[in-house]
Assembly symmetry: C2
Homo-oligomer: 113 residues x 2
DNA sequence: CAGTATCCCACTCGATACTG
DNA sequence: CAGTATCGAGTGGGATACTG
């Protein structure tokens, strides 16, 4: 059994790993996405609660990143057909699986500030 | 002992967590940084080895991201004063601690392609 | 309340050519 | 060998004003 150290097989495994990373980063790499996920980790929240909870983010960016998170199925958007309108957001199974990993990354990031 | 669910204390912890994440992402969020780290995880490598190992990256970006990684002390740059020049790169303690976390993130990313 | 629409800057990234 | 230099397209993100 030959050791897999040839340049080709090595690259392939590295590039495979990297492919997963690139995908993960494209989903959570937005400027405000981690903040949104952390906020929703406390429980389902209305749009205005998110907005007040993360005061630095502009409406444009909050909506944009929420839509992307929704598209990537990391948050669920629950629209209540009422007047005045009420929209809530919550984590999905997919993002709940991710949270512990984000916590590790966040801890590392704080440790190495 | 009061449950910490007031808006203020909640925000503070979220923003603290997020602060670590933002820092972590700023260090590893570059398009090629994970690939570089994974490549170096196999052991110390010369500049040309990295370049050949990650053929998609342009020289400009490879050098740029290497410099940023070096600045953030995630890779060490070892210059051998010879002719022709020889430069090697290797992981630091700091990035070795990070690798398991990156692997988790990468696994999650692959799983949710 | 929960968003859209518009404008615009800064920065990222890639390709190509050149160099100590 | 291990990089710089330069240019140009594309993207991320902020400020502000408006709306069903």
């Amino acid at each position: 059994m030959r050791k897999e150290t040839s340049t080709n097989s090595l690259n392939r495994s590295i590039l495979n790993r990297n492919c997963g990373m690139v995908n993960a980063l494209s989903m959570v790499g937005g400027r405000w996405k981690p903040a949104i996920l952390y906020s929703l980790a406390e429980g389902r929240q209305r749009y205005s609660e998110l907005r007040n909870g993360i005061p630095q983010v502009s409406e444009r960016m909050l909506v944009k990143q929420l839509r992307e998170l929704e598209h990537d199925r990391l948050v669920a958007r629950i629209v209540h057909p009422e007047v005045p309108p009420r929209v809530e957001y919550e984590l999905t199974e997919r993002s709940k699986e991710l949270l512990p990993v984000l916590n590790l990354l966040s801890d590392w990031g704080r440790k190495n500030l």
